[in-house]
Assembly symmetry: C2
Homo-oligomer: 532 residues x 2
Amino acid sequence: MEITRRNFKESLGAVYGAVEEADFLAIDGEFSGISDGPSVSALTNGMDTPEERYAKLRKHSMDFLLFQFGLCTFRYDQAQSKYLTKSFNFYIFPKPFSRTSPDIKFICQSSSIDFLASQGFDFNKVFRSGIPYLNQDEEAQLREQYEERRNQMNGSGTPSYISPLSGKGPVNVPDEHKDFINRVIVLLYFYSSFSLRFQRKLIFQTLNWKYPKGLHVETVETEKKERFIQVSKVDEEERRRIEQQKQEREQEELNDAVGFSRVIHAISKSGKLVVGHNMLLDVMHTIHQFYCPLPEELDDFKEVTMCVFPRLLDTKLMASTQPFKDLITNTSLAELEKQLKEKPFKAPKVGCSEGFQCYDTAAEQLHEAGYDAYITGLCFVSMANYLGSFLTPPRAHISARSKLIEPFYNKLFLMRVVDIPYLNISGPDLQPKRDHVLYVTFPKEWKTSDLYQLFSAFGNIQVSWIDDTSAFVSLSQLEQVQIAMNTSQYAESYRIQTYADYMQSKQKSTSKNRKWAEDGWANTTCSHMHNR
Amino acid sequence: MEITRRNFKESLGAVYGAVEEADFLAIDGEFSGISDGPSVSALTNGMDTPEERYAKLRKHSMDFLLFQFGLCTFRYDQAQSKYLTKSFNFYIFPKPFSRTSPDIKFICQSSSIDFLASQGFDFNKVFRSGIPYLNQDEEAQLREQYEERRNQMNGSGTPSYISPLSGKGPVNVPDEHKDFINRVIVLLYFYSSFSLRFQRKLIFQTLNWKYPKGLHVETVETEKKERFIQVSKVDEEERRRIEQQKQEREQEELNDAVGFSRVIHAISKSGKLVVGHNMLLDVMHTIHQFYCPLPEELDDFKEVTMCVFPRLLDTKLMASTQPFKDLITNTSLAELEKQLKEKPFKAPKVGCSEGFQCYDTAAEQLHEAGYDAYITGLCFVSMANYLGSFLTPPRAHISARSKLIEPFYNKLFLMRVVDIPYLNISGPDLQPKRDHVLYVTFPKEWKTSDLYQLFSAFGNIQVSWIDDTSAFVSLSQLEQVQIAMNTSQYAESYRIQTYADYMQSKQKSTSKNRKWAEDGWANTTCSHMHNR
């Protein structure tokens, strides 16, 4: 089901229902770009620590826009022995909802845009009909604005100004405006200019204070964007009715502004297993755009993530882990989906729920987020069921709640780091042995071939560039490390440190490492993330 | 005429022809955003100097993309006594043309995108079919790459490597690759991986050196993006023919990559009058995107601009200048076009050239760049003709080359600066008297009302915020300046300086002002801008 601003409100019930009844959810995002880094090599050092990798992604990827979000819900139907799916393809765009709302800027990367264009992506749908959204802070601010305005209307400001007309009053009118305001009380004032905003506020307050029950005062805007203050005589009951209508209208406006974030809130509150493929960037973008700016420290990010998505599963990581690793040659989503239909795997039995469009995997609508979410779910089901074949007796269907799945929970595939396969969201990360790695600094003229030459006596090496003047060099034989260190002692143009020494001197200058409880984040409180 | 990547090449002749025959050109650009500033007030101090205003626009606006360019050419037909127009609406997008080409990132501003969306702007056409472009540096780099590759092919590298197979050779093969390369000389090597790029280069060089005349060596890519080295036996003549074909193909690739910039080069080389409405940002973006990153200093920008567009005319500035100023109440493009059809003006006589779509001003296709360029041209014609009514005898048609137009040349409307109406591109800027202006610093808690209060004794004031803790305050009466200065002498929370003192202390810390020749830029050499 395709969801834009045009049908969002009427579809929200169906989305909530689908999430509610699901056994698990699959998600996928499409972005306006991937990496805003200065150069690819600086972004992708294969020896990065998880902290460094997170920091780079946070710094260079969060200014892109997540503008399409795919959600596919999977409900297992016992009677038919198959999953019934409902898939949703949301178009998302931060349309400013009023003159004072934030005017979001986002970056587009030509290569990403060009790639999506070549896949037939509909940018007009995003920009003309994308669903707006607010993060939690923006929502809270807007809520406050509404409340403040309501209080003003009710005349509950601090009483401090003595009106020259009536002797006293609750409104604070600066001297230079008093004349104007007092004249206005007996006029119906017309205005259309921004610079009068302060005066307008005074008029409101004064009128409401002078005629607390007999007048209803409101700003109205004509089709030509001319703005009036409309003053009408009302009795007490009518006034209360108008107030209530207005409050309801404001609540609806607020809901409209929060927009797509409500879908993410529903997914979050459901606490259901959320499956994605190579999903680290999807998770980061989703939190960044719909909850809060990403925290600086990796550990804080893990904490927030566990609050928003308490159970995650990454099919790329699953496919790269035993027993799948040896059976699967290519873990890209499209290839994985194909391989998981063939022996020893079985294509999962799925059907689509009534009223929902069925995707045909033969048609390959790749890179439509709803389709990618759908086949990600298929991959998960196929791999989960394969695990069931090891049971005695073997079982053809393994539920999303099975203990067999648990080892794959909350481990997100980590691209480009050579010896750390995943980011562990619910606990400390793996600490790979890097005893055979040297940290080398050298003149900025050096190229990879200079490093090969320098280490030519020590067998095969692997080079991971850090910047113009430094790199990690991995030796293939551990016993060569000391020899390399010794020979470098008198060198002038370059310098060698062991990885351990380098990390120690680096850590001294920066960080305080958080202590993890034995059971990961079990004792974290997430209540502040679910405050609505 | 709508021009995208699909019909660009076949339309280029028509564009060149239209520019060639035109009496003047009108242009307009649409951007992915207007201002990337931290806050509107910081960007729009009404007391900015032209240098400051330019610096702000350069810093906060150049990361947006000019993605639609309108060009409308106007040729006066003596026989019919009317202008014949040809209008072109170009869609522009920096599609990367190869794996190694620059991957441009640009910013989108939600409010601008939303506005264009509401006008029916076709983003799909931009992103799927936009015409690519290169600036001058990128073009030069690409040209060099082609030349370097050609030299490599011809074996004209520095001879320095002694091949173990044959005794000597012109190629530089690092020790660790020698074995591989020597094996490869007798193999047809197949590869598909990036990491082999260096080895591929060596294979090329070695093969070409060993078989300088008998072999043709080339990389070919299959539809599946697998890449081969194709080695074919050829005789001398055939080899030369293949080389020439290849060179032609490369020249065409280069032209395709330069893309839309060729249109701007043609406009520039024509030296014709270029008319725009409120065109400063159009000019800045056009130069930035298709020529070179904008220079830091305003004077250097003026110099570059005069090279690219030797004669500019801004219809918004013209309409804001006498004799038009008193007759025209609203200088926004749409309103101006309407007013210039009514008395005392006359709707200009125009027709559209054969084979070109005619815009109907009644349909108001505003914010399509081609349409905006068209009505900008109409405005210019109408105002120019009005000037003719003052001649004795009055003349109904005033040419774009008339002396009457000259006072409006190269003066670009300057938004938001209260007392400097335009940026003078071909000479020094106006220096407004700011004797009645005070520079005030104060605690960051202060608001506009605090400033009103502070100066309440000095009559009406105008406040131009600089930042949280400073502002310019214009007094209405010059004689109050000294009194205000005196009373501030013992103040602790705020400080007052005259504008002159403030500017002097500021200039001391920064700049060296360029000396202008009496006749502006007349002696500037632009040859480096027209090197193709």
